[in-house]
C-alpha cells in the first residue's frame, strides 16, 4: 500500500512543476493556458471567459494608447499615523507590500491617451494590502481628480479594493470624503469621470469614488458591493442568492451602466468619451 501512495504524490508534484511563467491555470474552469496566448486574449480564459486578475500595468496597457505616459505622485508613502499594532505591525506589513509589489501604494495614477484623447488615469492594485484605501490612496485619487479638472481631461479610474485600510483607522474613513469631495468639484464641471469596477470592489472604495462615475462600467462577474458577502450572511443568517453582488446583479438593479468584457473595454470607453467631449 505504502508505495502506491508515494507514487501518487510524486505525480502531483510533477504536475505542479509546470513553469508558472509559461503556463497559467484558469481559476474558474481549470483550463491550462499558454501565458503568451492569455495576454493576446486580454487576460481572459479562451474557454470560459473568466477574467484573470491583472495589475495596474496591464490595465494601463489595455486601456491607454501607449500605456501610462506620465505617472503622478509615485513617491507618496504611508506613515502609519496611528502607530497601529495588530498581530503584525502595520509598518512591517506596509514594507512587505512594497517589496512584493515594487510600488509604494495600492493605486497608480497618471496620464495617457485613449484614441488620442488625453485622459487622467488611476488604477488600483488589489495585490497591495487588498487594494485598501488609506491616506495615500485617498490623496492620490483626490490629486488626479483635481488635475483632471484643472486640465479638463476626462478621468478614468479602475477600482479593485477590499475597502478602507483599517490600520489607518478613522483617517482612512476620511479619505472617502476627500475623494468624493474632489469628484464633487469635477461633477460640477463638464469633465467626464468614468469608473470601471473590477473584481472585487467593496467597502469604502465602493461607497465613495467607485460609485460616483458619470458612467459606471463593470467587468463581467466582478464582486461589487458595500458589505462583504460573509458579513451579510452572518447578519441575516441565511444563504445569499446565486450571483448576488456580481456585476450582472448590479446591472439588473440599476447600479451600473453596463457590464463590458475586457476586449471591449477600450472601444467602449472611447465611444463614451467621444459622445461626452469629442
Amino acid at each position: 500500500m505504502a508505495w502506491f501512495r508515494k507514487e501518487k504524490k510524486r505525480l502531483t508534484k510533477q504536475k505542479r512543476e509546470l513553469p508558472p511563467d509559461v503556463w497559467a491555470k484558469c481559476d474558474s474552469c481549470g483550463e491550462i493556458i499558454y501565458r503568451e496566448k492569455l495576454a493576446d486574449n486580454f487576460f481572459t480564459c479562451p474557454k470560459c471567459d473568466h477574467h484573470f486578475r491583472i495589475g495596474p500595468d496591464d490595465y494601463a496597457q489595455l486601456l491607454l494608447d501607449d500605456g501610462l505616459e506620465e505617472e503622478f505622485d509615485a513617491d507618496l508613502r504611508s506613515v502609519d499615523p496611528l502607530n497601529f499594532v495588530g498581530p503584525t505591525r502595520y509598518a512591517d506589513r506596509y514594507e512587505k507590500a512594497i517589496r512584493k509589489n515594487g510600488r509604494k501604494e495600492a493605486v497608480v495614477t497618471g496620464s495617457g491617451r485613449i484614441d488620442d484623447l488625453n485622459v487622467k488615469f488611476g488604477v488600483m492594485d488589489f495585490g497591495f494590502i487588498g487594494g485598501s484605501m488609506g491616506s495615500v490612496v485617498g490623496e492620490k485619487i483626490a490629486r488626479v481628480a483635481e488635475r483632471a479638472l484643472d486640465e479638463e481631461n476626462p478621468l478614468i479610474i479602475v477600482s479593485a479594493s477590499g475597502g478602507a485600510r483599517m490600520m489607518e483607522g478613522v483617517l482612512s474613513l476620511m479619505q472617502m470624503v476627500k475623494t468624493s469631495a474632489a469628484l464633487g468639484r469635477l461633477h460640477k464641471s463638464s469633465v467626464p469621470y468614468i469608473s470601471l469596477l473590477t473584481h472585487p470592489t467593496t467597502g469604502g472604495v465602493t461607497a465613495s469614488f467607485a460609485m460616483l462615475g458619470d458612467v459606471i462600467i463593470a467587468e463581467p462577474g466582478a464582486l461589487i458591493g458595500f458589505a462583504g458577502p460573509r458579513v451579510i450572511e452572518q447578519t441575516i443568517r441565511q444563504e445569499l442568492p446565486e450571483g448576488f453582488q456580481r456585476s450582472e446583479f448590479l446591472l439588473e438593479h440599476g447600479m451600473v451602466d453596463m457590464v463590458v468584457p475586457r476586449p471591449e473595454l477600450k472601444p467602449t470607453i472611447s465611444k463614451l468619451l467621444q459622445h461626452m467631449v469629442g
Partner: protein, 306 residues
C-alpha cells in the same frame, strides 16, 4: 461608599455632627470616581457608547430643540425609520435635524433596525438636506449607529451608491452642516451623514472605521475579549483620540461616568456646544463655508512625500 453610609447611620443614631468627616470621604470618593473614569480603557468607552441607558437621538432632540416636526420618506422607495428628519428650533432659529435613532427595547429596535440605515435612509436624509439648502437653514446631524445595514435589500438598492452620493452632495451643500456624534459612529454608516463644517463628539462617543469586534476577527482572526480590547486600543476610536487626529473639532463633556447617568445634564451641555458652533458657522458666507469644508477634508490623512 459603605464607609460614608456607616458614618451617616452612626451619626444619626447618636446625634453627632460628622459633616467634616463626611465631606472628606465624599471628596475622596469623587476623586476616585473621576480617576476611574479617566483611566477607562478604549473598549470600556465603547461599552459606554453602547450603554443600554444612554440617551438616544430623540431623547436629546426633545431636550434640546423646540417646535420639532418630523418628515418622512425618500420619495422613491419607503421611509427608513432608522433615521429621523425634521425641522426644529434652536434658540428660536429653524434648523434641519437629521438623526440616527436607536431603539430602547426589542420592539423599538425591530422598527429602528438598531439605527442601521438602508440606502433609502441616506436618500431621505439627502432630500431633507436639499430642502434645508433651499430654505437656507443650517443642518444638524446626530450620529449614533453601529453602521450601515449589511443586507440583501440594502445591496440591491445600492447602499454603497447612497453613501457615496451623500459624501459628494454634502461637500457641496451651501448651508452650514454641524454633526454631533452622541454614541456610536459606525464607519461608512456614520460617515454618510457626517460630512460637516464642524464635527463635535460627546466624551464617551466613539467613531471608527470598523467595530473592535470586526477588526479583531479580521486582523487577529478571532474575536475574543483580549483581541477586542487590543483592536479597540489600536483603532484610536475615542473622542479624545479623534480630536488629536484632527478629525473632530470639539469633545463635549458628559456627566461623570457617562451621559446615561443624567440625560438632562448631558443634553444641556450638548445644546450649549451646538448653539456655540452654529452661531460661528452661520456668520460665514456660502462660498467661504464650501471652500473651508473642502480644504478641511483635503488635508485629512498622513503621508510622506509631496
Amino acid at each position: 461608599m459603605s464607609q460614608i453610609g456607616q458614618l451617616k447611620k452612626m451619626a444619626s443614631q447618636r446625634g453627632l455632627n460628622v459633616d467634616n468627616e463626611l465631606k472628606k470621604l465624599e471628596a475622596r470618593l469623587d476623586e476616585l470616581r473621576a480617576e476611574t473614569f479617566k483611566s477607562l480603557s478604549p473598549m470600556e468607552r465603547v461599552q459606554i457608547a453602547r450603554h443600554a441607558q444612554r440617551p438616544h437621538s430623540l431623547d436629546m432632540i426633545e431636550r434640546i430643540f423646540a417646535d420639532w416636526i418630523e418628515m418622512h420618506g425618500d420619495r422613491s422607495f419607503r421611509d427608513d425609520p432608522a433615521v429621523i428628519c425634521g425641522w426644529a428650533r434652536l434658540d428660536g432659529e429653524s434648523v434641519m435635524v437629521i438623526a440616527q435613532q436607536k431603539g430602547r427595547n426589542t420592539k423599538e429596535n425591530l422598527k429602528r433596525n438598531f439605527a442601521m440605515m438602508h440606502p433609502e435612509g441616506y436618500r431621505k436624509a439627502l432630500r431633507m438636506m436639499k430642502m434645508a439648502e433651499k430654505y437656507k437653514r443650517p443642518i444638524i446631524t446626530i450620529i449614533d449607529t453601529p453602521g450601515a445595514y449589511p443586507g440583501i435589500g440594502a445591496e440591491e438598492r445600492g447602499q454603497a451608491e447612497a453613501i457615496a452620493r451623500n459624501l459628494l452632495e454634502m461637500s457641496l451643500i451651501e448651508v452650514p452642516i454641524l454633526a454631533a456624534v452622541i454614541g456610536e459612529g459606525g464607519s461608512g454608516g456614520a460617515l454618510g451623514l457626517s460630512v460637516a463644517d464642524r464635527i463635535i463628539m460627546m466624551e464617551y462617543a466613539i467613531y471608527s472605521v470598523i467595530s473592535p469586534e470586526g477588526c479583531a476577527s479580521i486582523l487577529w482572526k478571532e474575536n475574543t475579549e483580549e483581541t477586542r480590547n487590543q483592536a479597540a486600543a489600536a483603532l484610536k476610536l475615542t473622542a479624545p483620540d479623534l480630536y488629536e487626529l484632527g478629525v473632530i473639532d470639539q469633545v463635549v463633556d458628559e456627566p461623570e461616568g457617562g451621559a446615561h447617568n443624567d440625560w438632562d445634564v448631558a443634553a444641556r451641555v450638548l445644546r450649549q456646544a451646538l448653539t456655540e458652533n452654529l452661531k460661528e458657522l452661520t456668520k460665514r458666507s456660502a462660498s467661504d463655508l464650501l471652500d473651508a469644508r473642502y480644504e478641511k477634508y483635503r488635508k485629512m490623512g498622513a503621508w510622506n512625500g509631496d
